[in-house]
């Protein structure tokens, strides 16, 4: 056994204790955090200079992509 084995075993024992429902919350929490971050982005960073339509705002499409992810990770 090398020192790397001891470190690896210690960490492995630690993460095995975490229940899968907590892990699911971690996955979903990460996606939700990115979703909220996108929502808070200033309009000038998500739209072209002379935007005239709502669909030119990238925030909408980014949120849609993340919302699909949130649904997927909630189900599977």
């Amino acid at each position: 056994m090398t020192p790397l084995h001891h470190i690896g075993n210690f960490i492995r024992e630690l993460v095995i204790q975490i229940p899968l429902w907590c892990v699911r919350i971690l996955f979903l929490g990460t996606l939700i955090a990115v979703f909220l971050w996108v929502l808070r982005l200033p309009r000038e960073t998500t739209t072209p200079e002379n935007a005239t339509h709502w669909y030119q705002n990238l925030k909408i499409w980014a949120c849609l992509a993340l919302a699909i992810q949130i649904v997927i990770y909630s189900i599977f």
Partner: protein, 533 residues
């Protein structure tokens, strides 16, 4: 095994002629090195976005992900979902606009501006090695599948695909790559969708598919239970069925436990790939505006949601139809042979060729860009004209095609899963590459010497971990393998990142800070420089 009919060949031929014609037409408009490497910085978001997806989903993924899904279940979908979408969205609004404004041609070029020439060269060498090996892997993956259906030998298929992709990539550069990728993306998603729909219909609908999948999982579980000790049976019985689960326990006996997926894939490999992979970032550097560069990534992220459905789910269908299949990489070819009638088989093979070509052309073009810009122009001819760079770029692309053919033949004798080889190669340096990228972009105090040492030590550490996990090495040293899962490539990237990042932080504090004027516009929080016109 079914053979192809005339109609199949006609469809494949029509697709190939169309792709070649488009590539050669674009090639006729290329006049300078800038046109060749960055498409004259005129690319629209919709073409880049589809090209990003087509590049990422190559033949390796169709064969490899289908095979991995057959073996391990839906968990491989993580590579396209949490392993892509969040990083693409963050990349779209934070990193990609930053690179676009800086006006660089390659990521290693940014590294020299931010750190020094040693960091640039070390990173460029790693990327060249990775891309060169990857080209061979892609060629072999395609040849294996084409040989099953076209009635040709694997060797002939390697030559055929190399010839086809080589012609339009040498001719048209990045623009040809992006626009042919766009068509390839449509054909590829359409073809895979076809296999998915026909597969589900063949199984009697979605409900029947789910029932059959659960039944098959029980059969596999029972077989496994017979092999394990009595005290482990109770624990195994309580385990949830895993073939439809995206999150697997940390002690799961697959290469994809949640720890690897979250820490290795989502937090390290994925952002390293989407903001640090030259083959990916290069096309957004060729965008016609900063908005187009951002929009391309968001569009790509939306498309990415669809990919596991069309690539991984057919692997699950094969799991139900051919549960005894020993080689996972044969899952997709078997499914096509079984499901598709005359005509549609030709359409799918065209889709497969599309997937193959879209990845190979991108890696060819990007490898050529790195060799030309980061080695030839940087060290040999600093004053090279734009026209001479075009000639050199084309010549290097040709040499890379020749190399890819040679490496594909070398790999033919190796029986390891295609997907595993690909991921292991990436994990050697992606963690350290991400560490220097993230510290360089976000931390003013990071120094060149720290980045260089952190990167080199991180790569060496990753290779050391890989070596200490090899059976022969463990037997010789009398130790147990370091990791308890098979193919621990995700863990390699985590530890390599941790070592690199820690070293960069420690050594940066021990060395002299970079001058403020040197890092201006290259680190977040410093005054932004507008890109050259």
């Amino acid at each position: 095994m079914q053979t192809l009919a005339s109609l199949d060949y006609a469809i494949i031929l029509a697709y190939l002629i169309g792709t070649l014609a488009l590539g050669l037409y674009i090639g006729s408009k290329i006049k300078t090195g800038s046109d060749y490497f960055l498409a004259g910085r005129r690319l629209p978001w919709w073409a880049i976005g589809m090209s990003l997806v087509a590049t990422d989903i190559g033949a390796v993924d169709i064969v490899g992900t289908g095979g991995a899904a057959h073996k391990h279940g839906l968990v491989v979908g993580n590579f396209e979902w949490i392993g892509c979408v969040p990083a693409m969205i963050i990349g779209a609004f934070v990193f990609i606009p930053f690179f676009w404004r800086s006006g660089v041609t390659t990521i290693p070029e940014y590294m020299e501006r931010r750190f020094n020439v040693s960091v640039r060269s070390a990173l460029a060498i790693c990327w060249i090695l990775f891309m060169a090996c990857n080209l061979g892997i892609m060629l072999l993956a395609s040849a294996k599948m084409m040989a099953v259906h076209l009635g040709m030998t694997v060797d002939q298929c390697i030559y055929l695909t190399a010839f086809l992709v080589g012609i339009y990539t040498i001719s048209g550069g990045l623009a040809a790559v992006v626009y042919t990728d766009m068509i390839q993306c449509i054909v590829m998603i359409g073809g895979c969708l076809l296999v998915l729909v026909l597969g589900i219909i063949d199984l009697g609908g979605i409900d029947q598919f789910q029932t059959e999948l659960k039944k098959q999982e029980h059969v596999q579980q029972m077989k496994q239970d017979q092999k394990i000790a009595a005290e482990e049976q109770a624990a195994a019985a309580t385990n949830e069925l895993s073939h439809t689960s995206l999150i697997l326990p940390a002690d799961s006996n697959t290469p994809f436990p949640w720890t690897g997926i979250f820490f290795g894939l989502a937090l390290i490999l994925s952002p390293a790939y989407w903001i640090g992979n030259q083959a990916i970032v290069q096309r957004s550097l060729g965008a016609r505006s900063e908005f187009d560069a951002k929009a391309a990534y968001v569009w790509g992220a939306l498309l990415k949601n669809l990919i596991p459905v069309v690539v991984a789910v057919p692997g699950l269908i094969a799991f139900v139809k051919f549960p005894e299949l020993k080689d996972g990489d044969q899952a997709f070819p078997e499914l096509i042979s079984y499901l598709l009638p005359v005509g549609l088989k030709g359409l799918f093979l065209a889709a497969f060729l599309a997937a193959l070509m879209s990845s190979i052309d991108s890696y060819l073009n990007s490898a050529s860009t790195i060799v030309t810009n980061d080695f030839y122009k940087r060290f040999y001819r600093k004053d090279a004209s734009d026209k001479s760079l075009l000639m050199i770029g084309r010549m290097i692309t040709f040499l890379l095609v020749v190399w890819a053919i040679g490496f594909a033949f070398f790999l033919k004798s190796d029986d390891a899963g295609i997907y595993t080889i690909f991921q292991t190669l990436m994990s050697f340096f992606q963690g350290p590459a991400f560490a220097i990228l993230i510290t360089g972009l976000l931390w003013k105090r990071a120094t060149g010497i720290a980045a260089f040492i952190g990167f080199v030590v991180g790569v060496c550490f990753s290779i050391l971990l890989f070596t200490l996990n090899q059976e022969s090495v463990c037997a010789a040293l009398g130790i147990k393998p370091l990791f308890q899962i098979s193919d621990p490539f995700l863990y390699l990237s985590i530890w390599a990142f941790v070592v690199s990042f820690s070293l960069i932080v420690i050594i940066s504090f021990l060395t002299k800070p970079e001058p403020a004027e040197k890092i201006e516009g290259l680190v977040f929080g410093t005054k932004s420089k507008r890109r050259p016109a």
